[in-house]
């Protein structure tokens, strides 16, 4: 662990160097100051080191507003593209801070990673389910635990979830240690609020840009649906765990029970949100991001959609013959999701949250620069 935490980025990467070049020009202009947190954070600096770029890149929500507003965007010879420069640095930072470091390279091959995780998860779930047929399984009953006993599920999913949390915690600590964050109390509440409301995903008020320069709040709303849907599903699982261990009530639960209501609502929100985000992502002007990250973005959102969708299918089919098959599919997608969590787009929330916390702490300290009026 100590070895893992002793982590330093040594050199500035080409992507970070391009980001520093872009920020150097932006810092002389500042017209985009009102769009988001990146520009006010930039204005507290005169030069941009590798760690500064990791910070600013993760603070960027990729709303795209600054690209269309930029007087120096291509075909101008300065060729500024802040959203794209930041996207490239973000991906590098996900890989660089990943733990174990060797798995960071999965970011380069997200399609491959996604396929492997799915195949592996299917294999494990089906093997376990098959191995248990006829042993502890109670034949003929429509019980999830007839397919896989609860204890087995807890071991399988608990361990993969625990590993994901551990890996992401190490990544978060690595990132945080690189950043010289002011020890400034009182910013946590603002930061949580900025994250919960996606305050910086609004292009300064009217929203993100997608296919053209027209702002829209669609992405923000769809992200809210996905995020809060995800939280509701998480709450559903947590309540079910309390039911199981606290009260000895075994799944499947009644349609009007709390876990099913939370899970259904969450699943529907996640399906709508992720499907919408997927459509927006596919239609989005490719200049606003890093074209190489298309598999990462689409793979992650698709997997989230699959998790939610197979969950809803399971709910519908749980009293039918198809319950067994649909449970296996759902469990496998959930496991693939857990396995991929630390090595997928999922971590964007982690680093962005930390960057937002740093930004709000910084904003509470006086600007170190005393620039003349210009």
């Amino acid at each position: 662990m100590n070895e893992a935490l002793r982590f330093r980025s040594i050199m500035i990467s080409p992507a970070q160097a391009e980001g520093a070049r872009v920020m150097g020009i932006c810092n002389s202009c500042r017209y985009c100051e009102g769009f988001c947190a990146v520009f006010p954070a930039m204005e507290r600096r005169l030069d941009f080191k590798a760690t500064d770029m990791d910070y600013l890149a993760n603070l960027c929500h990729n709303c795209g507003a600054c690209y269309h507003a930029c007087q120096y965007a291509p075909p101008h010879e300065f060729a500024l593209n802040v959203p794209q420069a930041m996207a490239k640095i973000r991906k590098e930072s996900y890989a660089r801070y990943a733990w174990p470091s060797s798995l960071g390279q999965l970011y380069q091959r997200q399609g491959f990673a996604l396929s492997i995780a799915l195949v592996f998860a299917f294999a494990v779930v089906m093997f376990v389910a098959n191995a248990l047929i006829g042993s502890t399984a109670v034949q003929g009953q429509q019980s999830f635990y007839a397919v896989m006993p609860h204890e087995t599920m807890v071991v399988l999913f608990g361990s993969s979830f625990f590993f994901a949390v551990l890996a992401m915690s190490v990544a978060a600590i690595r990132f945080w240690r690189e950043q010289a964050v002011p020890n400034q109390p009182g910013a946590s509440q603002e930061s949580v609020s900025a994250i919960a409301r996606l305050r910086y995903l609004d292009g300064g008020g009217d929203g993100c840009v997608e296919q053209n320069d027209a702002p829209s709040l669609a992405r923000r709303h769809l992200h809210h649906a996905s995020f809060y849907g995800f939280l509701l599903c998480f709450a559903s699982t947590s309540v079910a765990t309390v039911y199981h261990y606290g009260f000895g009530w075994k799944a499947p639960y009644d349609v009007l029970s709390l876990p099913v209501i939370l899970g259904t609502l969450g699943g529907i929100l996640m399906c709508l949100g992720t499907a919408g985000l997927l459509v927006l992502r596919i239609r989005r002007d490719p200049r606003l991001g890093d074209p190489e990250q298309f598999p990462m973005d689409v793979g992650f959102v698709s997997l989230l959609f699959l998790v939610a969708f197979t969950g809803l299918v399971l709910l519908i089919l749980r009293d039918s013959e198809a319950m067994r098959a649909s449970l296996i599919v759902h469990l496998a997608t959930v496991m693939a999701f857990f396995l991929l969590m630390p090595y997928s787009k999922f971590v964007h929330g982690l680093f962005r949250g930390l960057a937002i916390l740093k930004h709000h702490r910084e904003q509470k300290t006086p600007n170190p620069l005393g620039l003349a009026e210009g």
Binding site: S28, E33, H68, Q71, G205, D206, A372
Partner: protein
């Protein structure tokens, strides 16, 4: 059906005219010389609009009453303004922003480093290009026909009317020879014409008519499309010229700026913190005469008069981080002679200049926020404020060249934005700004004139065209 209003130009004034005309029910077409990606003319480099207000208004603090606004205008123009037109612009600037918002323009408090403008100027969220984008979106939804890559190469006159505009090939958009006949691709008729095609600052051969060969060393802060072709055609067709044809607004910008479209970032804001020398290594003007925002516009002219139109702003480490970060890094050295070598100015002469400057500095209390008491004694030119010895390495030097913002030559209009001498021709923006701003400049007034006269021109042009449509 024949067009009611044809708008020539694609920047702020042109868009305001087109939007207002379309709102009035006119059938409108807008001709932009550039392609889609470079649309908007010099407006994309702007950042705010100067607005009158009698009490705090959203992003504007305190009050900026009509008389104070007019006084500011009188001061910078030294009286070269048409008071009636100027006051009309000022009054309407107090109410134009709700219309701008309606068309998608968003405002923000004054930007970092521009607090001195928080009372008088409303900043556009995202700057002028965001404003231009919003107007084009609104124009699209109002059914205005927008033609990109459509430079007007000639105006077809019949008596006191302009009956059609002739569009050339896209490549004609940045040609300097404004009197030559360029091939015509299309002829577009309209009942009324609004001309908002800017000045001639991008036309360097034209600039040399007033400045001589020096103009070949100028940089143009705005777009490359303002060659002045329509302006010249209009004047040749009998429009009354206004504004000194030899004058332009020039600031000192970084010599490494691109020839066109350097915009805001190429400014160098450390002049008042150090000294400025020419290529002979000699100082030539009081760098600390007044606050930089009040003086930056004289330095273009000062540098233009130096040999090779090149000068260097030299600072030491006491100035680092005290001014808006420049876009290009300065030449840097640990000693002044080494810096002079990097600047390629004669070392001996440069050292003599710095030594006599350093020896003349009277110790005082340095404060860049006020006209402080740090000044020189016994040298010419003096540095009257913020004079500190250049003695703390590393030293930095930024090369300066004149950067041209706009030209003053335009056509005379009346309070209906109608071009004098024509029945159906209206003008807005830089091409008529000289009616209000005969010389000098005050931040944000270009956008005020463009917005207000753009709206007037659109309204009157539409009314005239629709009145003709009514009987049929």
């Amino acid at each position: 059906m024949m067009l009611d209003v044809l708008v020539i130009g694609g920047g702020n004034a042109a868009l305001c005219a087109a939007l207002v005309a379309a709102e009035a029910g006119a059938k409108v077409m807008l001709l932009e010389a550039s392609g889609r990606e470079e649309r908007g003319g010099n407006s994309i480099h702007t950042r705010n609009i100067r607005c009158m207000h009698n009490e705090p208004q959203d992003v504007l603090t305190e009050a900026y009453p009509e008389d104070e606004y007019f006084e500011d205008l009188l001061r910078v123009t030294k009286g070269i303004t048409d008071e009636a037109l100027a006051r009309a612009v000022i009054r309407q600037s107090s109410s134009c922003r709700s219309w701008m918002r309606h068309h998608g323009v968003r405002f923000q408090p004054s930007l970092g480093g521009t607090l001195h403008l928080s009372r008088t100027n409303a900043f556009f969220l995202g700057g002028g290009k965001a404003l231009v984008n919003a107007y084009y979106r609104s124009a699209g939804s109002l059914g205005i026909q927008i033609r990109y890559q459509s430079p007007v190469v000639a105006l077809e006159c019949k008596g006191q009317r302009i009956v059609a505009a002739l569009i050339g090939e896209p490549s004609a958009a940045d040609r300097d020879d404004v009197t030559a006949d360029w091939p015509v691709r299309e002829r577009i008729e309209a009942k009324s014409i609004v001309i908002a095609s800017g000045g001639f600052e991008s036309n360097i051969p034209w600039l040399t008519e007033a400045w001589g060969e020096a103009a070949t060393n100028f940089r143009i802060r705005g777009c490359r499309f303002n060659r002045g072709r329509v302006l010249r055609q209009l004047i040749d067709a009998g429009a009354q010229a206004i504004g000194d044809p030899t004058q332009c607004h020039a600031v000192a910008i970084d010599a490494r700026a691109p020839l066109y479209d350097g915009g805001i970032v190429t400014r160098v804001d450390c002049v008042s913190l150090g000294i400025v020398v020419n290529t002979a290594g000699e100082r030539f003007y009081d760098e600390g005469e007044d606050f930089w925002p009040k003086r930056y516009a004289i330095w273009g002219r000062l540098v233009a008069k130096q040999p090779g139109q090149l000068a260097w702003s030299v600072i030491d480490s006491q100035a680092h981080g005290r001014f808006m970060p420049p876009v290009f890094p300065g030449e840097e050295a640990q000693s002044l002679p080494k810096l002079a070598q990097k600047m390629k100015v004669p070392v001996e002469s440069f050292m003599k200049t710095v030594e006599s400057y350093n020896a003349s500095v009277v110790p005082g209390h340095f404060d860049h926020a006020v006209l402080d008491n740090c000044h020189t004694q016994g040298i010419s030119p003096a540095k009257t404020h913020w004079a500190l010895r250049l003695e703390k390495p590393p030293y930095r030097a930024y090369p300066l060249r004149p950067g041209i913002t706009f030209t003053y030559l335009g056509v005379k209009v009346d309070d209906h934005a109608q071009v004098l001498g024509f029945d159906n021709v209206y003008a807005a923006g830089e091409i008529m700004a000289g009616n209000v701003l005969g010389q000098g400049y005050v931040a944000g007034i270009g956008m005020t004139i463009g917005t207000i006269f753009g709206r007037i021109a659109g309204e009157k042009a539409a009314a005239q065209a629709l009145a003709k449509r009514a009987p049929s």
